[in-house]
């Protein structure tokens, strides 16, 4: 985004994609956000940090992505009593990000919705964990909050609370339904149950060790997070990983995408009543995970991607096996897709269920897989490809129906494309041209540098903003899960659908709770 017309000065930002940082005043924060929106930009993240130790009050950062790359707007608040402008009217997803920033830092937006988001009475309401002078006390017992859910009044309107403990083996979250009969009038989410204090934990870790924590923000996206973190570290260190590392990282990222899509296709089929789908797809997913374990030593590929490269290289027999496996799985998926497409009962559940029209998706700022199913064709692997994606020509998958069917179709297309990519990557890994080191040692990282890593995880773009402190420690690390942008959309997708379709709709999005709650 060109900010010069607004009279703003942009500085380059070290990142995995073209990026700039722009200091803004309160008014400029609004005008720059509006400019980004008018140019097709979308909100990726919003977070704050305590800069009082550097006599700079508090800093609010807003990350926006458009066709030019990432723009991080930086706004300084002189103290905690100052407020910053509410961005919700431009970017609806900003609402929860602003509320979470208040819960963690005590700096508020000028917004009507001042309800807590990540605070649930587990620490005193006037204490703010991400402030540098925050001291936790063992006497703080977990409390019970009274949360102001919006109620719908009317004849025959009932309220159903669901969660945080859910029926199946899934993450915790609360969903408050307002219903008439079976039809959902309104859904309100309450998240934050998996809040572990990750951002505070980062500040206790050395930069070069914290990749382990980054990879456990959301276990199903461990490779995407680990790569985004590694990218940020390499930017801070002004280092470039060796080419072989990039190929191996892409292989891991695509295998993560493959495993998750296979699991989802089975689970979504199951939620639509076709247990056969769950059996077949979970079998294929298990095959992929067992190959991961044999090849990389970990079924989910945790701790494989590290700052500097990858932790271990891949033996050529595993490269061969993965190459052949891609072919075999591809043929099975094509057959299963035909079965799904021809299954009248399943299609009856999928079609027009949980629909987010493209206009609404644009308004809400949907990102990632769910966005692509509603016409928002953005994918970092295509838009801002980092090595080796710059030579892979990834085909983007996109639909416009925005219903469960569309999110399933995008997964099928992406899984077939991922298998093609795995075949190309494994062929490249067997080429002598890509032999060499799989990791480079990083030198000392100077303090007070800011960098961001940005990687297209399987559900959407994962952002990791990293600021270095003295002695190789982390001053501030903010991981931004794409789920922040997409969780509010489910509240819209469910309207007019029946309650039993909620698990199906929810699963078709499959957003991260832990990645969101931090």
């Amino acid at each position: 985004m060109n900010v010069a017309p607004l009279g703003l000065a942009a500085a380059p930002l070290a990142a995995g994609v073209p990026a700039q940082r722009v200091p803004v005043s309160a008014g400029q924060l609004l005008t720059a956000s509006r400019l980004a929106w008018e140019n097709g930009g979308r909100l990726i993240g919003l977070w704050g940090s305590d800069e009082r130790d550097r006599h700079r009050g508090f800093c609010i950062r807003v990350a926006l992505e458009d066709r030019d790359g990432l723009t991080v707007l930086e706004h300084t608040l002189p103290d905690a009593n100052a407020h910053y402008p509410d961005l919700t009217s431009i970017f609806p997803a900003a609402d929860r990000m602003q509320r979470a920033t208040y819960d963690l830092l005590g700096i508020a937006a000028e917004s009507d919705d001042q309800r807590p988001w990540l605070w649930m009475a587990s620490w005193p309401i006037d204490q703010f964990p991400l402030r540098r002078d925050f001291v936790p006390s063992p006497v703080w017992e977990p409390g019970q909050e009274e949360y102001d859910f919006v109620k719908v009044e009317g004849d025959g309107v009932h309220e159903i609370p669901v969660g945080p403990v859910h029926a199946g083996i899934i993450e915790p979250g609360h969903f408050r339904f307002q219903i008439v009969g079976e039809k959902v009038l309104r859904l309100e989410e309450r998240l934050g149950y998996a809040h572990k204090g990750i951002e505070k934990r980062f500040e206790t870790l050395p930069i070069l060790d914290a990749g382990r924590l980054a990879g456990r923000v959301s276990g199903d996206s461990t490779v995407a997070y680990a790569w985004a973190y590694a990218q940020a570290v390499e930017c801070l260190a002004r280092a470039v990983p060796p080419p072989r590392a990039s190929w191996l990282r892409a292989l891991c990222l695509e295998r993560e995408r493959l495993a998750n899509h296979l699991g989802d296709l089975g689970a979504i089929g199951n939620d639509g009543g076709l247990a056969f789908g769950l059996a077949q797809f979970s079998r294929l997913r298990e095959d992929v995970l067992r190959e991961n374990a044999a090849a990389f030593g970990h079924r989910l590929l945790m701790d494989v991607v590290v700052p500097g490269g990858v932790a271990r290289d891949l033996a050529w027999e595993h490269v061969h096996r993965m190459h052949d496996e891609a072919d075999r799985i591809g043929r099975e998926i094509v057959a299963l897709r035909d079965i799904y497409d021809e299954h009248a009962g399943l299609q009856d559940r999928f079609r027009n269920c949980g629909r987010i029209a493209p206009e609404l998706a644009a308004r809400l700022g949907l990102v990632g897989l769910a966005g692509r199913a509603s016409g928002r064709a953005h994918d970092l692997r295509c838009d801002f490809p980092c090595a080796p994606y710059d030579v892979l020509s990834v085909r983007i998958a996109s639909e416009t129906e925005g219903d469960v069917w569309a999110r399933v179709a995008v997964r099928f297309d992406e899984v077939l494309e991922t298998l093609r990519l795995i075949a190309v990557i494994t062929a490249a890994l067997l080429d002598p041209a890509t032999s060499g080191d799989s990791c480079v040692t990083l030198g000392t990282i100077p303090p007070d540098r800011l960098a961001t890593g940005y990687i297209e995880g399987w559900r959407g773009p994962v952002l990791v903003a990293l600021e270095s402190a003295a002695d190789g420690m982390i001053r501030r690390c903010h991981p931004q899960d794409p789920s922040w942008c997409n969780w509010p959309a489910i509240e819209h997708a469910i309207i007019g659908n029946i309650v039993p379709d909620f698990p199906l709709i929810n699963k078709s999005f499959n957003l991260s709770y832990s990645g969101h709650d931090l």
């Binding site: 936790p136 199946g168 915790p172 505070k200 276990g219 079998r283 709770y513």
Partner: protein, 181 residues
Amino acid sequence: MYQTLRRIVRIGIKTEDAPAPATEDVVVARLQERILRTLGRALTIRHVDAGSCNACELEAQALSNPYYNLEGLGIRHVASPRHADALMVTGPVSKHMAIALKRTYDAMPDPKLVIAVGECACTGGIFANSYATLGPLSNVLPIDVAIPGCPPSPTALLQGILAAITNPARPLHADPRSPVD
């Protein structure tokens, strides 16, 4: 329908069975037989995610895939704690889940087992020293079995479930020689 049936017949039954050469599959097969011998009735499990990163959940879900076929062993996941014999907990017990977790445990009728799954539930893991977590599950509930791993493989989970129903009286750890990742 024809294509579906044809695929089912073509793929066949994938549930693993003993005996087989010394690979991960063998451990699973032995576990299946021992579980079947030990269980006089089906075991029902209620899982609670107490702030996990969701990796342990993925492996717990894998127990229902055709290879491990948990239901074929007579072990089911149940939605209501009233129906549950065992409580399986993942995560470092985030403070925000503490009340829901305790309520779930209290709602389970006796006799009941508690299984701590994963590094975080066993030791607090990488999230141990946090203002937002209560640490290992043993800080909150009495546990019968601790299954370490980040995450534990489905095989290790099966071993742990077996350990829970063969000797619930004292805390046990899953076989360290098993191929846990």
